[in-house]
Subunit: 269 residues, 4 copies
């Protein structure tokens, strides 16, 4: 009897594999709870909100931890239904070490750990990672898998762009330190300080807390700002090409299975 | 006789279906009036302009409402000429509930409602939606339909990007709250406050009203700023691929009227 | 004899049509003079530079006008060598009304006009348009023609994006005026003022002179800032698709002329 | 015997050509040293760090120069193993004039030059260029070669974009100087000053140190800011198309090893 219950619970929890109405609603409910929980964490940092809604926030907190803990235990109990994690001990350990289960553990662990005093808030931030769970919901899965495939296939190009960005960052910071260091010693006096300017400029954020004032500094700063455009253009171009290749691949895969409807001969790619 | 007039008015009002010179000029005139009306709404918020051009602004207002009301009534009267809305009662109701007609109603309603006192300005803002009407003008239709198709086909990818952005937003706000909350309690003291910083940084707006000052805060802020580039690259790449697929689809639809190279039969789409 | 000279001058001036070494060097020399001239115009606005290099700047000015005037007259004299502008009077008039010749005229006219007193600087700004001439140099032509074709083919999509941007601009300005107008009357007190904020935010410039401070204003501002990303993504996606279509078109045009090297049969598109 | 040693050293140093475990580890070690060295250069500009870690920083500096010098000498000694640089004298000279070897020389030269007094920091910045070496590591090579090919093939389009950007920059600066020069003489009083505003606006950095305040200046500034979006869209579109063409080229090169469907012969590229 327990095996049947376990199998049913497993199917409900893993909506994308076995599915069913109940599993879908459960997922939506868990997603809503995650959002509520995050709103609660944010609200706890606002004094007047803790003053007024303190009890409610605590209730949400306790409820979340209870539900998430139950979900975690149930997942661990039922995972052996999946043939890949079939062994009662080693299967469960491997399942518990999967990225999603580690995120789930990180989301509830701070509540149970006794030494959560100081880092409480920091640790609870892990609960935010549960938001990633939402991405597994229904049809979003396919879109995210596509994104993941594109990012993975283009990882060398993207990493090269990042490396070029770091080189530009260091060179820009050194040049501006040389040009502006004497005039604005508190802002460009050290290369690490200049790096903050370089980041703010290359990403086109431009807070306005640090900017060059000398003619040379402005000239160099202008070149860095224009090169910063490349920082947007390169990854965008790479990803754009990647998304299109992905679609082409799918289209070709479909086309390659087609035969001519008249003579039955293969049409080829 | 009335039926003939109704048919003619219907053709003039729906330039994209039946067209004609008169319909085109009417559309341009209505578009100009919409722009005038919006300029008037904006001008009414400027004290010295209401002082000097008060009467003119009121005239534009009255004229607009009169013309738009007339257009609305005429549309409702003539819509039965369209076979889809042929029934004199149920057809008109369904037509009136279409998005474009609701926008038109929202544009004139505030003038007639008696309780428009306080929310006058807010309600009148709906008139701005009439600008969307302009998009129906002539050849722009095809371009907008293309855009709409691309956005619809890529809605899951774009929604996934939005979800990733929200996750990044919440995580960034929590981290910066932890890093800067003690140093700048009025800017990073609560997570909602930190979120404002995260939005301003991730979208690369960077007003400069909020920015990290500690070394840790700047380091985390730099990472958020660089990840913000992905916020531009992902949707751009997705949309770029979408626009190209759309063109390819059209080209293929044309090319697919070719025949099979083996038997000469039509291959179909 | 004059006809031969005229033909030769015409060939030298129109390097892209008949070309030759001399024409290339002349173009480079004119390009350099344009840059010098622009640098001179910029330098004249800096007091200490006019004080020190005043005579030199005047010399550059006189030299530029003399050379550009000579070029203009020579172009007008020789244009009849081009069969399209063959008639001695009507051909020359049509040639003089071409965009490039109008730019050239605008570049030298301010010097000869007697009423150049007040608007001197503004009119001389037209000289900057001569920079466009540079684009005609050598191989850049092809790249610019490609760009022009892409922009022309996608003009409806780009115009639709611009229209959407204007709608978003007006709506955003109205909303922020409603949300912040009472708190910051000098910055959001009128819709035109709010529009300045909307432009600065949607283009992600973010000077920091105007920004929302209320919770509602920040919430609405965040949405506008995120929608501003679409303002970058849409035209970029459209242009990216356009550039690729352009290349595909060229490749197909080439491929469509190929036959199978073995059997001589056409390979088709 | 020396020849055998030389051959072995050459193979270890040129991991991408002959490779081997040792060469890979050496490359990683050199990469780490480069990063350490750059961190050291940055740390030397921070007073409290030189005070505390002064000796360590000097040690890193001496070690780096020693290792980089040894590498340079070994490369020069072994390069004749490469058939392209086979001649003992002319081959080595040509090898030493390659871009990578010049970067290496620039990285160690400042240490040996006696006149490094004042420009010490500026010259040492060349060491940063060694970061480019990292790009040669392992599989990143292919990604960077792809990038290089795309940038080279699209260089005319990108240069045209840059030229358009310069024209826009100059025109924008002149217009804003005319509109705001009288009101903010310290910020828009000269065209070079206005150019700084134009750069900050067109790249959407927007520090907030310079911005228009008059109605005309804001109107013109808005147009410049919107045109600045094109500054992002054009290169991104160009690069996106370039990356996709690159992939298509590779795919076609593979596909073209297929045979003609009519006669079965190889079709070639």
């Amino acid at each position: 009897m327990w095996t049947t219950v376990r199998h049913r619970v497993w199917r409900v929890l893993n909506v994308d594999q076995a599915g069913g109405r109940l599993g879908y609603y459960l997922n939506v409910a868990l997603g809503t709870l995650i959002f509520l929980n995050i709103a609660g964490i944010a609200a706890e940092t606002v004094p007047w909100m803790t003053g007024r809604f303190g009890a409610m926030l605590t209730a949400v907190e306790y409820l979340s931890v209870a539900v998430f803990s139950a979900e975690y235990v149930l997942r661990l109990w039922t995972c052996v239904e999946d043939p890949r994690y079939g062994h009662w001990a080693s299967g469960r350990v491997r399942y518990a070490l999967g990225p999603m289960m580690l995120i789930d553990l990180a989301a509830i662990a701070p509540f149970y750990l006794p030494w959560m005093g100081v880092n409480l808030l920091g640790l609870r931030a892990f609960r935010l990672l549960r938001l990633l769970r939402l991405l597994k919901l229904g049809r979003y899965s396919e879109a995210l898998r596509t994104m993941g495939r594109v990012l993975r296939r283009k990882r060398f190009e993207l990493a090269s762009t990042a490396l070029l960005a770091i080189v530009l960052l260091v060179v820009a910071a050194s040049l501006l330190h040389a040009a502006e260091g004497a005039v604005q010693p508190d802002r460009f006096g050290t290369i690490p300080d200049s790096m903050w300017w370089a980041v703010v400029t290359m990403t086109t954020v431009g807070y306005g807390d640090v900017y060059p004032v000398t003619a040379l500094g402005r000239f160099l700063g202008s070149i860095v700002a224009f090169l910063g455009i490349g920082l947007f253009a390169l990854p965008t171009g790479i990803l754009g090409a990647g998304f299109l290749e992905e679609t082409n691949r799918k289209t070709k895969a479909r086309l390659n299975q087609r035969n001519c409807p008249h003579c039955g001969g293969e049409l080829g790619p």
